[in-house]
Symmetry: C3
C-alpha cells in the first residue's frame, strides 16, 4: 500500500522531469504534425557530447576508485547481455509469423545498450538525489558488446544448420553453390563476419570483427574515448566547464528527437508481426528485472549502491539506437531491419525511458527506504 | 528636450549592445564580401532553442500568475495582427505598380511575428533592466496566427471577386474551366486552403487549415512546446542550466546571420516596385505605435508593465522570417514571394531590430520615467 | 639539468591537458578505425566561435590598452610571416623531387596561421597560469596575410621568369599563346590574381586581391568581426556568458577533429616527396624559434610578456588549416594542393600543437624563471 502510493507519486513526478517531459512532448508534437526538425548534425554532436561526458565521468571515477568494486557489476552486465539474446531466441523466435533470424537480431538489439536511455536514467537519479557509483555508466560496453556478439553468433549457427539441412534435403537437386548464402528473404550484401567458405558447412563466425565493429561505432567510441581521457589525462577543466553543465540541456533536445522519432516509426509497426510490439512492450521490464536481481546480489555482496542497481537495470531495459542497428545489419544480413528497429524505436525505447526508469527508481526507493 | 537627449543617448548605447552590434556586424561583413557562413543546421537549432526558451519562460510564468492579466494584452495582440493586414490592403495595395495580392501577403508577413526580433527585444529590455511580464513572449501566437489567417482569407475573397467579374465579362468567350484558378502571374501549385470548387464563385477559404499550418511551423511549434512544458512539467532545472544561459549568446549568432541575410537580399529589392521598400521602412513604426497605444490602455487598465508594452509594440513591428513565408506561399499561391520576403528581410527586419527596439524602449522610458 | 627536468615534467603534464589529450585521442581513435564523425556544420560553428572569441578578447583588450605596445610585436609578426616563405623558397624548393611552386605554396601555408593551434596555445598558457597580453591573439592577421601575399607573389614571379625563358627557348617553335599559362602540372582554372595579360612577360601580380581574399576567409573574417565588435561595441555580456565559457570545451572537440583529420591525411604523404614530411616536422620549430627570438627583443625593449612571446612563437609554428588552402589554391593554381596540405595537416599541425606548444612554454618558463 505504502509502496504503491510512494511509487505512483514518484511516477507522476518523474514524468514531469525535463527528461521525460521532452520525450512525451516530442511524441505529442510529432502526432500533431509539427514541422519542427532537429538537424542530424545537431543530433550527432549531442550524442557525441553525452557519451563523451559519460565516459569522462567513468574514467575519472575509475582513476580514483577501487577497481575490484567494478568487477561483479561488470560480470553481471556481460551475463545479462548474453541472457537477453537467448530469451529472444527461445520466446520471440517460437511465436507464429516471426522469423528466427529476425527474433535473434531483435534480441541482440534489446541486449545492446542505448546511450541516451542510460543518460536519461543517470539524470533522473541525480534529480531524485539517489547516489550511484560515478563509474556506473562505464558498464555500458560490458553489456552492449556481449549481446551483439551473441546475437550474431547464434544467428549464424542457426543459418548454417538450416542450410546443411536444406543441402542434404536437396542433394539430388541443382548444385548448392549457386544458391545465395543467406537463408532469409533479404539480400545479403555484407558478410564480413563470415569466414571464407569452401563449402556451406564450413561457415564459421569470427567473433573478433564483431567486437571491433561494436567498438568502432560512433556512440561506443565516443564513450571509450571519454573513458580513456578520464583515466589517462586530466580533463577535469573541460569536464566541469563544458561537458557536465551542458549534459541535461543537450539530453532534453535528444529526448525530444527520440520522442518524434518514436512516433514517426509507429507506422512501420503495421508491416511486421504484432508479436514484435508485444515483445517490445514487455521485454524492457523482464530484462530490467533480471539485471535488477543480479544488481541486488552485488548490492548485498560488495555494497554496489541501489542507484547503481537502477543503472544496471536500465542498461538492460534499453535497446540500442545508434551503434546496434548497423552492427546487426552487417552481422545478420538476412534479418529484416524494419522488424527489429521499428519495434525497438517506436515501442521499446519509449517504454524503457518513460516507464522502466520511473519503475526501477521507485522499486529501488521502496526496497532501500 | 530632455526626452530627445535621453532618447539619443539611449539609442547609441543600444546600438552598442551585443544584439544590435552583431546585426550591424553581419550587414557590414556581408557588404565587404566575407565568406563566413553559419551552417543552416546551426541556425535551425538556435531558432529552436530561442523559441523553446521563450515558451518555457512564458509557460512557467503563466503557471505562477494570474491568467486574467494575460487576457487584455492577448486580445490587443489579436486586434493588432488583423488591423496590420487591413492597413496593407488599403494603403500598399492602392499604390501604383503594386499587385493587390502581393500587398495583402506583405501585410500578412508584417502582421506575423519574428521570433528572433522578439528575442532581441526581450534581451535589450533585460540589459536595460526594464521589467516586463515573463509571459510577454507568449503573446507571439496571438498576433501571428490572426494576421496570417486574415491575409489569406481577404486575399482569397479578393481573388474570387475578381474572378467572378472576369467570368461575367468573358461569359461569351471560351469556357472558363480551362483557365488557371489563380489570377496572378505566379504559378499556383498548392491550393490546400481552398475548398473543392465546382464553379468559380464557390471558392470558400477554410480557416482551420491555415491555423493548423501556422501552429505546425518550426518556430511556433518550438514555442508552444516550451509553453506546454513550462505549464505542465517542471523544466526549471534545464531552463536554468541550459536554455536561459545560452540565450543571449545564441541570439548574437542569429543576429549576425540576419544581418548577413538582410544584406544579401538587398539585390532583390531592385526587382520589385520601390513602394515595397518605402512600406517596409515605415510600417514597422506604424504597427509598433498602434500596438504601443493599445498596450498603454492595458497599462492603465490592468497594470500591464511598460516593458510589456514595448514587447507588444516590437511583436507588432516585426515581420515573420521563418514560419510566415511558407504559410503565405501555400495560402496565397498567386502572390509573388520575392515581393513580400525581399522587402521584409532586407528592410523591415533590420528597421524593426535596429531602430524600432531602441525607439520603443526610449519611448517607454520617456513616458514612464 | 634543472632546465631539462623542468622541461620534461612540464611536457608530460601538458600532454595530459584536455587540449592535447583530445588531439592525441583523435589520432588514436582514427588509427583504430573509429566511425565517429563530427559533422562539418559543427566544425564550422566551433571555428566561428573560437575565432570570434579571440577577436572579442583582442578588441576589448586593445580598447583598454596602450596601442603602442602592439606595434613591435605586430611588426615582428609581419617579418616572420615573410621570412618563413623565403626559407621554404631557399631550402625546401632546392631539394630533389620538390617542385619550386609547390615549395613556395608550402612556405605560404606554414607562414599563415592556424586559428585552432593558436587557440590551443592560449588555453595551455591559461592552464599553466602564464600571463600574456589579452590582445596577443590579434597578432594573427599580421603574420597570416603577409605570408600568403609573399608566397603568391614570389610564386608568380618565378612562374613568369620560367615562362620567359621557355618562350625565348622556343621562339622558333609554335606560337606561345596557345600554351596554358601555368607552368606546373596542375590545371589552372582560377587566375584572378593575375592581371589581364597581353604577352607572357606582362604578367603582374596584383597584391590587393590576395589581401582581400585572405580577409574574406571565414576564419579571419570571424576574428576581425570579433575584433571590431570588441573595439566599437560593448559585447562584454555575451563574451562573459557565452563565448568565453564555451571556449575550452569547443576547442576540445576541434582538437579531436584535427587529430582524426591528421591521421586520415597520413596516407596522402606517400604520394608526395618525402622531403615534405621532413620539412613539416622541422619547420614548426625553426619558425617558432625565429619568432621566439624576435619576441624576446620585444620582451626586453617594450616589456612584451613571456606569455606573449610564446603566442608569437606558436603563431609562427602553426600552419593554416582553414583560410590558407583556398587562398593558395586560387593564387598559385599550378601548385599541387596535396603536397602542401597533406604534409601540413598530417605532420605540421600535430607537431605544432603537440610538441611546439609544450616546448615553447617550457622554454619561456626556463628563461623567465
Amino acid at each position: 500500500m505504502d509502496f504503491l502510493s510512494l511509487f505512483f507519486t514518484d511516477f507522476i513526478k518523474q514524468l514531469q522531469s525535463p527528461t521525460l517531459a521532452f520525450l512525451i512532448g516530442g511524441m505529442i508534437i510529432a502526432a500533431l504534425g509539427s514541422e519542427l526538425v532537429i538537424p542530424d548534425a545537431v543530433c550527432s554532436i549531442i550524442v557525441f557530447m553525452l557519451l563523451t561526458k559519460i565516459g569522462l565521468t567513468g574514467g575519472i571515477a575509475i582513476r580514483n576508485s577501487n577497481l575490484t568494486e567494478v568487477l561483479l557489476p561488470a560480470l553481471f552486465s556481460v551475463i545479462t547481455g548474453i541472457v537477453i539474446v537467448f530469451i529472444a531466441r527461445f520466446t520471440l523466435a517460437k511465436l507464429p509469423k516471426v522469423k528466427t533470424v529476425d527474433a535473434i537480431a531483435t534480441g541482440g538489439l534489446f541486449g545492446a545498450v542505448s546511450g541516451s536511455t542510460m543518460a536519461a536514467a543517470l539524470t533522473l537519479l541525480e534529480e531524485q538525489k539517489i547516489p550511484f557509483e560515478a563509474w556506473a555508466g562505464a558498464l555500458y560496453p560490458f553489456m552492449d558488446i556481449p549481446a551483439l556478439v551473441t546475437a550474431i553468433v547464434i544467428a549464424n549457427i542457426y543459418i548454417n544448420k538450416k542450410k546443411r539441412k536444406e543441402a542434404s534435403d536437396s542433394a539430388m537437386q541443382e548444385s548448392f553453390s549457386k544458391q545465395p548464402v543467406a537463408a532469409g528473404d533479404y539480400p545479403s550484401t555484407r558478410q564480413e563476419y563470415l569466414s571464407q567458405q569452401k563449402n556451406p558447412g564450413d561457415n564459421k563466425v569470427k567473433i573478433w570483427p564483431i567486437i571491433e565493429e561494436s567498438l568502432r561505432g560512433p556512440a561506443l567510441s565516443a564513450m571509450l574515448l571519454g573513458l580513456a581521457l578520464g583515466l589517462f589525462a586530466r580533463p577535469e577543466s573541460v569536464y566541469k566547464s563544458f561537458y557536465d553543465p551542458a549534459f541535461r540541456g543537450l539530453l532534453s533536445i535528444l529526448m525530444l528527437v527520440m520522442g518524434m522519432e518514436a512516433w514517426s516509426r509507429v507506422g512501420e509497426l503495421r508491416k511486421v508481426a504484432q508479436w514484435y510490439v508485444v515483445y517490445s512492450a514487455i521485454a524492457p521490464f523482464i530484462h530490467g528485472l533480471i539485471a535488477f536481481g543480479l544488481g541486488m546480489i552485488a548490492h548485498y555482496a560488495t555494497g554496489f549502491s541501489m542507484g547503481g542497481v537502477v543503472v544496471l537495470a536500465i542498461i538492460a531495459a534499453s535497446s540500442s539506437d545508434i551503434s546496434g542497428p548497423p552492427t546487426l545489419r552487417a552481422g545478420i544480413p538476412s534479418a529484416n531491419p524494419s522488424a527489429y528497429i521499428g519495434a525497438s524505436t517506436a515501442v521499446g525505447t519509449p517504454i524503457a525511458i518513460g516507464f522502466c526508469i520511473p519503475f526501477f527508481i521507485g522499486l529501488a526507493q521502496a526496497i532501500g527506504g
